[in-house]
């Protein structure tokens, strides 16, 4: 009996960990090309979830709602790039840190005013009735999270490896100046990475909303953990975020089972401190020699 409980906690934690991984992946995408991060990524998740909720309330079918939601995510990502990141990058300043935080706060206030402060249920055709696998309860909604995360990440990785545009993306990530000399527009590539990052945020919103409900604060805890995951894994390993995400999810889950739910956040933060102290490039990160 007790063993099953432990496995149950691990499975529940792993699903949550996949969501951390997805949001962390959004951080990686923009860091790769522009060496910048949208600190308002959590707000993008939240705003996209609210937009999807409104679209559903208009009576659109689930599939179309998801597509439109992802499109809105891309537009929001582009908006962040244009309004907060590009200027700062052009001036080679670190202003994007503050600007993306400010933009996040702005998104927060705007959605509080449009949609209110309440948590609302998110209708989904996917059932949340649990079924048993080897005595462990799993819900179809959780399965959909796993499928969604792997689907979108797989698609983006495929895009980066197989298409010309994707190769440009990789080229800019590796060496911006060299890529520009080859005739690749670094600016456009950064724009693209923000758009994709927005799509990833919207996808995360669609996937977790049925579990967490939709509200202005839905992503605030999530984004902090996702950031830990991205840093611990290293800011350039897609495989790394999945591994670290799942690990952190399980660790949290077991902590709350054995020690108490109030201690849930502690292992993640400890891990973050350890990683920064021992391996600043992340467990899966490549050590880069910085030429000055």
């Amino acid at each position: 009996m007790d063993q099953i409980m432990v496995f149950q906690m691990m499975v529940s934690g792993a699903f949550m960990g996949l969501v951390y991984a997805l949001v962390a992946y959004g951080f990686q995408l923009t860091y790769a090309t522009g060496k910048s991060i949208n600190f308002g990524q959590g707000e993008l998740v939240m705003v996209s979830a609210f937009i999807c909720l409104s679209l559903t309330n208009l009576g659109l079918p689930y599939g179309i709602m998801v597509l439109l939601g992802l499109l809105c995510g891309a537009l929001l990502g582009l908006f962040v790039e244009r309004s907060a990141v590009r200027l700062a990058l052009e001036q080679k300043s670190e202003g994007w840190i503050l600007l993306t935080i400010i933009l996040g706060l702005l998104f927060f206030s705007v959605s509080e005013n449009i949609w209110g402060r309440d948590d609302r249920p998110f209708p989904t055709p996917i059932s949340s009735d649990a079924f048993q696998v080897f005595g462990i309860s799993v819900t179809p909604v959780e399965i959909s999270v796993a499928i969604g995360v792997f689907f979108i990440m797989g698609l983006i990785e495929l895009f980066k490896r197989q298409t010309l545009l994707g190769k440009a993306f990789e080229a800019v990530s590796t060496d911006r100046d060299a890529a520009e000399l080859m005739g690749i527009s670094a600016n456009r590539t950064v724009m693209l990475s923000y758009a994709i990052s927005g799509v990833v945020a919207a996808m995360a919103g669609v996937l977790i909303s049925p579990i967490t409900t939709v509200g202005p604060t839905m992503a605030s805890a999530l984004v902090l953990k996702a950031f830990s995951v991205a840093v611990v894994a290293g800011l350039d390993s897609g495989f790394g975020v999945v591994a670290v995400g799942i690990f952190l999810g399980i660790l949290e889950s077991l902590t709350s089972y054995y020690i108490g739910s109030g201690w849930r956040e502690v292992p993640g933060l400890t891990l973050l401190i350890l990683a920064l102290a021992l391996r600043p490039t992340g467990i899966f990160g490549k050590a880069v020699i910085r030429k000055v």
Partner: protein
Amino acid sequence: MKIQLKSIAVLMLAGAAAFSACGGGKSDVIKVAITGPFTGGSAPMGASMRDGAKLAIAEINAAGGIEINGKKLKIEAIERDDEAKNERGAIICQEFVAMKDLSGVIGTVNTGVVLAGDKYLQEKGITKIITPAAGSQSMTQWLNKGDKKGPVDLSIFRFAAYDDIQAAMVIEEAINRKLTRVAFFYDSTNYGKSGFDDMVNQNKKQGDKLQVAASEKFNIGDKDMTAQLLRAKSAGAQAILIWGIGPELAAIANGMAKINLRVPLIGGWPLSMSNFVDNAGKNGDGTIMPQTFIEEPITPKAKAFIEAYHKAYNVKRIPSPVSAAQGYDAVYIFAAAVSQAQSTDTKKIKLALEDLKKPVHGVITTWLKPYTKWDPNNVASHEAFTREQVVMGMVKDGRIIFANDADRQRLIKNASAVKGKDSK
């Protein structure tokens, strides 16, 4: 020059007169503040309470107002959103204290907010009727405790089925179902903790018939309750007895379904909040909680109230029927006190509240002497509700219905009979 000076003097005199008119308590409206969380997780309770109260105010004003010394005065509602935040509650109460001609305050949903703010009102003797905050501490904080003497004069009243009554009913329900092992769940707010203490005390009082399999805490905003629920499950809990508010309660109900923990969920009245009922969906069906009002038109008065509420706010279901009905009745009780005091002075209204001569016909029941002079050894002196006005409600298909038909029949039978403390 002379004329100018003269006119300035006249203006100043006029100004002073106007100032004293608004500051002297002789205004021609009765100012009543309504406060509670109108946004956020507690909003269904706060907003329903406000809307129920405003419905009563609109009815009183439509009839011309309250007659004081031969002059009919209308009630003016001042609304303040405390966002269920303790610090907001404290600031709002300080603002109320600064208002010169405030006749009284009605509201507050969250026990923490009550504890943060009411001391300012009590200090200045401003009359407040707390509704629907049910946490025991809201009133027991004024009692004598050992060496620490409570105030001999209290301007704070409560109009809610306080947690001691509710906890007694919850424990009773579990015992009646022949359960022997239960898990206590509670949120980490003042409300949750004091509800947990009440359940533990009531269990002791009722003969320690329930074994406590687990005592689990959760935080506001928690979405994943798997860990706590699994511990309860492995400890063999036959029921979850719970004190919390809507969104987290829904997370518990959904978590129970997920880990296949099919045991009764019984707890404090927030289990009737719309954000519990909606977010839990069918996982919330069968949940049991004490209620002071069920949205069923079983009496003519209830029917009129429900229809008026639906029409005024364009809804098909009251978000929190208990809060709405209590807000409504609280205004009528307050109005009766104003009428009896023949004054808008908050201190005189307080005295009248402690000795209401006439019965007040509310939607919950007919209130006969709901309050008596404050006794720092007996919290019931400023509590309106007794066990008999409270019934068990149950969630079914997104609505709250009577859990026991006997309660329903009893209320129908007693609808015309006068009830209250004295009938006991």
